[in-house]
């Protein structure tokens, strides 16, 4: 921290951004010194990633109308038009998903497409790409970057054989090595790490934090985005909390504790009118679904050893940060991803990995992946809504020849579809329209209608409002609540938006690191949920 005089390394002033009128960032101001480590925390959708995209001048930002405000690097205003520009000014980023070649070595990955070359005669004729790789120089540069990071990473190891931590180091080393291989003025000055520790074991995370301190002492500033608050407190100089597209707090990390941060993250004014006012006495109703020792292998949403009881007639919410495994629970139970453990529905144990058995028992699922799982995009609304009910419960079929032939009953299908089109206000030209042509909100309504058509006893609804506009949002949530009240169907709703869960659910379970961390009534203080989301025990108040 040697740069007391002069302009800060990075300064952002009055940054704002809206996506077609929908404001996602407003009036962001902060600055960053050389060698400073800034911890950036916030719930999903708080605007962290949008802010980083602006910093890097990603295409997505330009295509949606640019941003407001200005960015200064060492006092000079910059406006990056592409990530390559950002790179040239010494800003690097390590993304959450690895961008590595599995069958190449660490060295090759670190220097991917920036390999030092040896001149060959052929290149004069056929262009630069026929120069040969300078392996020695490659190893030297890669080793230099690894050394700078101060981690025990073998440059000759294949990525596919590495532990996860080493993959992460490879990614960081790639950013560090850029000073040696590109025309940067003075090497890497600012490194953005997006959730680097999420996939690491404790030891690996520890050595990563150590590496971060090493980098910082060399004058490289770091923006560290993480949900692990203790790590943030441990390693950062400054902590910045974002919520709803604003900076809520910027404080030095000394003396801050996890509870404070959690409060800042989720503690918002809650609109009481929207809240679910019902008090559901779940202890009086019997357990309808009980999940024991469930594991689910869903990429990015791994579930480990989950135990959960769902009571008859309730609306249970499942919340948690992205990637912690909340989505894995319904997908695993419904058999869409490989799963193990035990599920008992209405006193009967059901086999896993068989969607059919769950559907037969009366459990339905509205997937978060509408286009991939939820819909037949190239078929009509009629098919989309009635297909599952037809296949599982033999509805909408006419029988001929003693039941030998079961013929599609077009009239019944049309009637059923029409019913839901009216009930859920699905906007379409006709019931024969292809699902692909509908808007996101209407597609979601079709997915709901599909689930309602099987008259389920228990309904899993995953991210029901993701990517749809506000009007459709409230319609969908209302429909769920109404359905629960009118037909007594138990609903398990999974959502990233805590407020949404609190407005609909009776109880909310928070998933962290693949496990159910705790369950609280929806009326509990939001800060408690915030703490649970980041893996902190709630002290009894």
């Amino acid at each position: 921290m040697n740069n007391e005089l002069g302009a800060p390394l990075l300064e952002m002033q009055h940054i704002s951004k809206d996506y077609f009128g929908n404001e996602v960032l407003s009036d962001i101001n902060f600055s960053l010194r050389r060698g400073e480590i800034l911890g950036l925390v916030g719930e999903n959708g708080a605007g962290k990633s949008t802010l980083m995209k602006i910093l890097f001048g990603m295409d997505e930002i330009h295509q949606t109308g640019g941003y407001g405000g200005s960015i200064f690097i060492e006092g000079d205003e910059v406006r990056f038009t592409s990530p390559i520009d950002a790179l040239a000014s010494g800003i690097g980023m390590v993304h959450q998903e690895f961008s590595l070649l599995p069958d190449s070595t660490a060295t090759e990955n670190i220097l991917l497409n920036r390999e030092p070359l040896k001149h060959t005669l052929a290149s004069e004729l056929f262009g630069e790409r026929l120069n040969t790789l300078n392996r020695e120089s490659m190893e030297k540069i890669a080793q230099g970057a690894i050394d700078k990071l101060g981690v025990p990473l073998d440059g000759k190891m294949l990525v596919s054989e590495m532990p996860v931590g080493h993959k992460q180091f490879t990614e960081i080393a790639r950013e560090l090595s850029k000073e040696a291989t590109t025309e940067m003025e003075e090497g890497l000055r600012l490194l953005v790490l997006d959730e680097p520790t999420a996939v690491l074991s404790e030891q690996e995370a520890e050595s990563l934090l150590k590496a971060m301190r090493t980098l910082s002492s060399e004058g490289i500033a770091i923006i560290f985005i993480s949900h692990r608050l203790q790590e943030i407190i441990d390693v950062c100089d400054t902590i910045m909390v974002m919520r709803d597209g604003r900076i809520i707090k910027t404080v030095p990390s000394e003396g801050v504790n996890v509870t404070d941060i959690a409060h800042w993250m989720v503690g918002r004014e809650v609109n009481a009118a929207k809240r679910n006012t019902r008090t559901f006495n779940y202890e009086d109703s019997k357990v309808v679904l009980s999940i024991r020792n469930l594991w689910v292998d869903m990429p990015g949403e791994t579930v480990r050893n989950v135990n959960l009881d769902v009571h008859d007639g309730e609306i249970l919410g499942i919340g948690g940060m992205a990637g912690q495994g909340k989505l894995g629970i319904p997908n695993g139970v419904m058999g869409l991803f490989p799963a193990g453990g035990q599920i008992v529905f209405q006193g009967e144990e059901l086999p896993l990995n068989q969607p059919r058995s769950l559907l037969n028992a009366g459990v339905a699922f509205v997937s978060e992946d509408r286009r991939g799982v939820g819909l037949l995009l190239d078929e009509s609304l009629e098919w989309n809504i009635t297909f599952t009910a037809m296949q599982i419960q033999d509805k909408f079929l006419k029988r001929y020849l003693n039941g030998l032939v079961s013929w599609r009953d077009q009239k019944a299908i049309e009637e059923e579809t029409m019913k839901y089109v009216k009930q859920l206000e699905i906007r379409c030209v006709s019931t024969r329209q292809n699902a692909r042509e509908l808007s996101g909100g209407n597609q979601q309504k079709v997915c709901l209608a599909k689930a309602f058509a099987v008259t389920p006893k228990l309904l899993f609804v995953s991210e029901p409002t993701r990517g749809i506009d506000i009007g459709a949002k409230s319609l969908v949530l209302d429909a769920l609540r109404r359905y629960n009240q009118e037909s007594g169907t138990t609903i398990v709703m999974i959502s990233s938006e805590l407020e949404e869960l609190r407005s609909v659910c009776d109880r909310i379970a928070i998933v962290n690191d693949g496990k159910v961390f705790g369950i609280l009534p929806a009326t509990s203080d939001s800060a408690k949920f915030g703490l649970m989301m980041v893996g902190q025990e709630v002290q009894e108040v």
């Binding site: 497409n113 630069e128 990429p299 480990r304």
Partner: protein, 370 residues
């Protein structure tokens, strides 16, 4: 990583080399049955190595770039044949004739390869079946050019080449002028087995080129694209362009390979020579232990030897065994296709199995912890 026991090592070796091992078994039975003398077999195998290796090597580059087996190498073969038709027509003989045919074929191959690469970029994920159909499609265009275009539109000097009706090339073009001229250049004999050192030198040069090419930036980029297109793209590698380059190189080499192949045979079957070339080259490469995702020079040589030994002995073995040479001929055709089918199936099955592994790990993990 645990150390594997010897038994496990052997099992793994066998699992990874099923196809070559199977061939060794077939040959172990077939060679004694056929009753051919070792000298004869050695001569035949050497002649076929010199004839076919170049063609098979042309398949390596697209595999490197992750585009699978390039059945579109037929396009290169067509370009090579057109080169030969021209040089024969001009009356250029000997090694100059071969070289000139190669020079003439090069621009054609580049053009065809570029086009083929473009199409394959539009059909990502099903490159193989598309390249296979491209071969058929281009065969139609080839016929249009050679059977109708040559004579009236494209000047052919020598009337001997043309069909009596005045246009179109005859069914067979006699390549007597260049026949074996490269093979006979520096021919030596060891124990009665003729060895065409000239051709072998060319093949050695090509092998060195391939090894060198893998060390170039372009080669490295192809490896990257082959492993993960998206990662390569994120790193700034021009994915589409790189893929097209790999097909162009493959097509050009296939053209040269076809010229060497036909120079050894001595006659060009104008409308048929190229048809099965892709299939046989692919089969030979796979027999050598290559897969859809990885192939090396040594697979080429092992493949040529094993595949052709089987090819040479099976008619005779069939005759001795059942009294019908025809049987052996059908057998080898069946084996060629069977090998390709097996390799394709194994490739897809392995790809799927790898995806299933992480779930098992998770289950084990939980068993340990709980």
């Amino acid at each position: 990583m645990r150390e594997l026991s010897t038994k496990q090592k052997i099992l793994r070796f066998m699992a990874n080399n099923t196809v070559p091992l199977l061939f060794v078994v077939i040959i172990a039975f077939g060679v004694p049955l056929s009753g051919y003398s070792p000298t004869y077999l050695a001569g035949e195998v050497i002649s076929r190595i010199s004839r076919n290796t170049f063609l098979i090597v042309s398949l390596l580059i697209p595999i490197l770039a992750g585009m699978g087996l390039n059945f579109g190498m037929t396009l290169g073969a067509m370009a090579g044949q057109i080169g030969l038709i021209f040089t024969t027509d001009w009356g250029i003989v000997g090694i100059p004739g071969i070289l000139l045919a190669m020079i003439v074929s090069t621009p054609l191959s580049i053009l065809l390869g570029w086009w083929c690469g473009k199409i394959l970029n539009m059909a990502k994920g099903r490159e193989m079946v598309t390249s296979y159909i491209i071969g058929f499609f281009m065969n139609g265009i080839y016929q249009l050019v050679v059977l109708y275009g040559m004579g009236p539109l494209i000047k052919i000097i020598s009337p001997n080449l043309l069909l009596p009706r005045g246009y179109g090339i005859r069914n067979t073009v006699n390549l007597i002028g260049i026949r074996k001229s490269l093979d006979n250049f520096l021919m030596i004999r060891i124990g009665g087995v003729p060895i065409p050192v000239g051709t072998f030198l060319v093949i050695a040069l090509l092998s060195v080129f391939i090894l060198w090419f893998k060390k170039t930036k372009l080669g490295q980029d192809m490896r990257a694209v082959g492993q993960d297109m998206e990662v390569a793209r994120a790193a700034g590698i021009r994915v589409e362009y790189t893929r097209i380059m790999s097909i162009i190189i493959s097509t050009v080499l296939a053209g040269y390979g076809m010229i060497i192949y036909l120079h050894n045979i001595g006659t060009l079957n104008t409308y048929n020579s190229h048809m099965q070339i892709g299939m046989f080259s692919v089969a030979a490469l796979l027999v050598g232990g290559a897969t859809v995702a990885s192939a090396k020079i040594r697979n080429v040589f092992l493949g040529v030897v094993l595949f052709h030994l089987m090819f040479i002995v099976s008619p005779m073995a069939g005759k001795r065994l059942i009294g019908q040479a025809q049987l052996g001929e059908y057998f080898r055709v069946f084996v060629s296709y069977g090998v390709i089918t097996t390799s394709l199936v194994l490739y897809e099955v392995r790809k799927k199995r790898e995806r299933g592994m992480s779930g098992l790990a998770l289950a084990q993990d939980q068993e340990v912890t709980s």
